[in-house]
């Protein structure tokens, strides 16, 4: 049912922490504890190393491709407390460096491209910064959510720009400005929803469902959905799906309790499949059946890092 398309041997010297394909699925970016970010061109099942980006002085935790309408941009965040935005101008180079965090930057996420070039960064120092590119003056502006999560923020995820449509909730007033919203999870076991109000970010609501550090939060793409969905995973080994009509009241259901700590979750583009991976080195895919129950459709990948060669 699911086939391996490519096995890419990355030249990293240490553990890989993140990998992502770009918008067109043509390039792969990876980052690792060896402090480097690598970009590969994928063509006809082969890969060529395009760039080996060095600039971080600590393990690089996460990378994120920006929407291509802004050019070829890649953001990376690291234990060295820096966020670097790389840009391809003939060749890959550092475009912007943000070093105002006081501790490891654990997560980054680009806002929906409709908002422009906006990056959210969650750090272990408990703050979230939102970096906005001002093309008129070619500068980056940063806003800070101070003490977002008291003992560290682990993850950030943006609310999609297309809000789900409730068949009755049709405020057709197209002029209503869609507000920027962020979901974040941290070491205080909370998921918080932030809203940009004027030029400040305020906490809209928080979801208290996990009993240990929240490791990943993912806001579902809302195409075709009638509700907002947020998936979250935690050190408490649970994956929880929270849903809401109004973004204030969230109803949570446990998708599953896993055998080990769950590290990351990812929604498919159509928001019907969820990929879950955790400390037990397993990846599983979950799909919602027509009754709204989540079923595991495959345990595809079990420790396949060990490829026979």
């Amino acid at each position: 049912m699911v086939s391996i398309l490519n096995t890419i041997e990355v030249g990293h010297e240490d553990v890989i922490h993140d990998a992502e394909l770009d918008y067109y699925g043509l390039r792969l970016a990876t980052c690792s504890s060896d402090q480097s970010v690598k970009i590969y061109n994928l063509k006809n099942g082969t890969q060529t190393l395009v760039a080996d980006l060095k600039g971080h002085y600590g393990p690089v935790w996460q990378i994120a491709w920006a929407h291509p309408k802004f050019g070829n941009l890649l953001a990376s965040c690291s234990y060295d407390r820096k966020v670097i935005i790389w840009k391809e101008i003939n060749q890959w180079e550092k475009f912007y460096e943000y070093a105002n965090h006081d501790s490891s930057v654990n997560s980054i996420s680009w806002a929906p491209h409709e908002f422009g070039l906006v990056l959210a960064c969650g750090s272990l120092d408990g703050t979230i910064s939102v970096l906005t590119y001002k093309p008129e003056v070619n500068t980056w502006e940063s806003k800070r959510i101070i003490s977002a999560h008291t003992s560290g923020c682990n993850t950030v995820s943006w609310c999609p720009v297309t809000t789900p449509i409730d068949s009755f909730n049709t405020s057709l007033n197209a002029s209503t400005e869609i507000k920027k919203r962020l979901a974040s999870g941290g070491c205080d076991n909370l998921i918080k929803i932030w809203k940009e109000e004027g030029d400040q970010w305020i906490e809209e609501t928080k979801i208290e469902v996990h009993s240990d550090w929240v490791r990943d939060v993912a806001w579902a793409p809302s195409v075709g959905l009638t509700k907002h969905l947020i998936a979250s995973c935690s050190q408490d080994r649970r994956v929880i799906i929270s849903s809401s009509d109004d973004l204030i009241n969230w109803k949570s259901t446990v998708l599953n309790t896993f055998d080990d700590v769950v590290w990351s979750i990812s929604w498919s583009l159509t928001a019907n499949v969820l990929a879950v991976s955790g400390a037990d080195n397993k990846v599983s895919l979950w799909k919602m059946d027509p009754e709204g129950q989540w079923i595991c459709i495959s345990d595809v990948i079990k420790g396949q890092g060990e490829i026979n060669d």
Partner: protein
Amino acid sequence: MELVNSWLLVTSWNWLIVGYWLCVRTGYLLVTGYKLELVTCWLLVCLGTGYFLVTGYDKNQIAIKNLNKPIDEIITFPRLNKYAPGVAAWNPNTYNKNICALASGVVVELLIWKNYLELCPGPILKSHTRVVTDINWHPLDPQLIVSTSLDTLTYIWDIRDYQKPVISLSSFAPASQVKWNKISRHILATVHNGDVKIWDKRKISSPVHYISAHLTNIHCMDWCVFKENQFSTASQDGTIKFFDISNPQTTECVINTEAPVWKACYTPFGRGMLVIIIPTPRKIENTLLLWNLSNNSVPLHTFVGHSEIVLDFQWRHFPQDGSDYQLITWSKDQTLRIWEIDKYLQELCGTGNSDLDIDCVDYISEMEKENPVVFGHKLPDEQINVSIYEKENDLKYTNGSTKNEKSEIQVKNLIRDINSDSASSSEINAFGKSSTITAIAPLNLQQEFSTNINIPNVQILKTDIIRRMCCTTAKCNGQIISLLINFPPSYPRNKGPIFRFAQGTTVSNAVRFKILEALRDTADFKVKNNQACLEACLRTLIVTMQKLTSNDAEKVNLFSDERLSTHGNSQDIYYVPARTCGAKFCFVDRLICFVKPLSQLQSSDKNICGLVSLSYRQTEALTRLYLQNKNGTLPPRTKYMIRRGLLKRMKNTRQNKRTVLIYDVSSLFFLNKELALKYKLIGSDINDICKYNAQIANSMGRRDLQQIWNLVLISAKNTNTSCSGSIDWNCHPLAKEMLQSIILFYISQTDLQTAATLCCVFQEYLFKRDSSNLKQKSNKTTVVNTPNPCTYREWLSEPSGSPYHTLNPIESSVESAWSFPTRKHVRSSSWSDFLEDIKLSNSIEHGEMMETNDMTLNYNEAFKYESNELLFDRVQKAYADILYRWQLLSVRALVMKSVKSANTEPHKGMEFKSECGQCKTSTFGKMCLMCKLPTMYCVICRLSVKGLASLCVRCNHGGHLSHMKKWYETETFCPVGCACQCSMNFVLTTS
């Protein structure tokens, strides 16, 4: 008479020094040991040829000890400065050798050792605005001392004029160390994280050299004793590098120690280097190594003996015999050792003869065999501490007089006590040690109190080690909290401190409760992990307080730049284990997976290990590596480093290749690129499109889709018979609803492709209003108020069902009555309640949607249609995005064409206007609006251009695209003959 030749200087608030001789002849070394208890922070400084120990955080006293007479009494002196001394240094010059400098807080104190009896406070050098990080006496000029501080300034003082510094050197980043060149009297160096700046005191405006030595922090920098321009840097990255300032670009040579280097100094004899390394976790190594600089592959000698990490060392030289050196080391095992470096070892360091070949392996093994047996044990039990404390009190009183027999006896007693204590506790200790190797060793309370906690708005007023309590105040948003923290005896092993609010606390009870809760949480968490919690608790205190009081005052200043200082922040110690396995959906139908290679599953992450099992000081140093870089950027990575690192790591990683797997998970989704490409979206006859698409679906093996296309074909056909060419579904009882429900079904199945394609094909008919009706009503404005969503829904849940049942049928025919105020009168009371909630702002015009005959149906329909329309639009947009990703741009354009609310961004690029030859007005069109003449003529055929045009931006000549294209296939110059090389500057435009 050299009675006071060697002294030991000790300052401690509750100091206790137990010196006992231990002379073990091990091979070539005479090892002498002292055991020092409760001396937590110390400084080893030299007075002439004697050695002194100064402890760090004494508030009241300094003590001096003669090293040559270990059983001799300790002399104590009071201190005035309340800050703990950070660095201490004796003047190394013969003249002024009795002056000791102590850096404490923002000042540098000078102390004068008078007549070998008395330590008198001298002048205070006071100009720095932040904590002084390092001081260094000039090695040749007895009057000069340099100090550097966190305020980024480096001052050179002449102690004869102590009012203000003689020279001030300013750099952007604070320096951690400052060192005078040992040979050249004008040169000095400052260390900034991984960089070294070389200054000449005759040229103070900027550094002479800026050397990016390491990527990581330099822990120790030392000038060479035999070569003027050479210096060494020892860094966290496990290397010691040697530089020559006459050629600063290149590294002279590198010693690779495989572990972070804490201290590396040139030996005063020969060409050696003595190194302290921070041991790698799980492996208790000998950390004190001696290298010969001519052989940088293996250490020459390893000093074996200390059971814990060596913290510092100093050299001592006996002038009676010019070649005899003693090494004094101080270790975390709280013993002081004196090692005699005999001539043989000195010779091995290459005294005079650097080509001497050395084999040191035997040396080490021999040392290990004869490892000294009884050396300092920690006192794990608190009761012992207490008893010592009492005795030490006695000791203090008697120490005032120099030659007191009584005190000697007491010291002896004390030694005996300690020895027996040590013996009894040695077993426990050995056991305890093995268990604490893997955990961060908790600090004892005194250590914790002594840690320089620097949190804005929080002040530690008083710490009392005896009563185990600490009093702090925090100020925030005009509120004050006084907090008393009591540490139970078992803290920090399993019990957290007790918090109490003291008098002067201004916050309300509710806030107090919340703060207490937060504090307990933090403390419990820390204690559970066997960590010290004072600093973390104070941070929690201020953070919670800020949060709570700002809510109180409604003065949320979330984005203020004032951040908590994280100097020495302990947050990094609780490290979030890194993701080593992950799966991510990317692109349209790809799943990226990476997992940790199985062979690595057992080993835990290196980064966390790096923080484990190190002393507090080292942990701090490690965290500082990442934390203190805030002010300075790290130096660029040198090529050498990369190559070296790569080679080293390649060996290790050969076996387990790291791979990223890309899965094609398209089977999980209903998205097919080929279908997207082949589907027909527009055409003159909708029947043909449906037929064609059905065929395509069939050829792709999607029989289900073929059926759907056939189904919609039939519904299209049925209606098509009545009106030729196009469909009029308004007459059809079913088709429109059916099609909408089909599309909704596909959306619910997340089959965006089918849904969007259907939307696109039937875009004209799906939401088409009855055109004939529209015409009839075109002169009447119909207003439908869209109800507030929630009221509307509440209202629907009423048993009465439809909201429209009370609607007077007559009303509908009276179109003029569809204005807002009149409506209320014709409704029942329940309806009017509902209307109260209606806001005019919500009203939207939907004139054409109103069917005169059946209001009820149309109301529902209107809502449904609106929501569906919006939904379908979004689905089409989402599908368009997918097509974009597939780079099917023309298909995407067709899909976007049918999107109604496509809020395409306004065009921002260049636009071309053409100017009328007659009236000179410019226009976008092909005709001048005023003269009605064509604005653009083709230079080839002399006719006006109406379609695609191409013109040169330089000479403005151009014409029909086809003509220009043909011309420039063979020519490069403009056809008019204006000598413009047009082929270079063409633009396309439409006229």
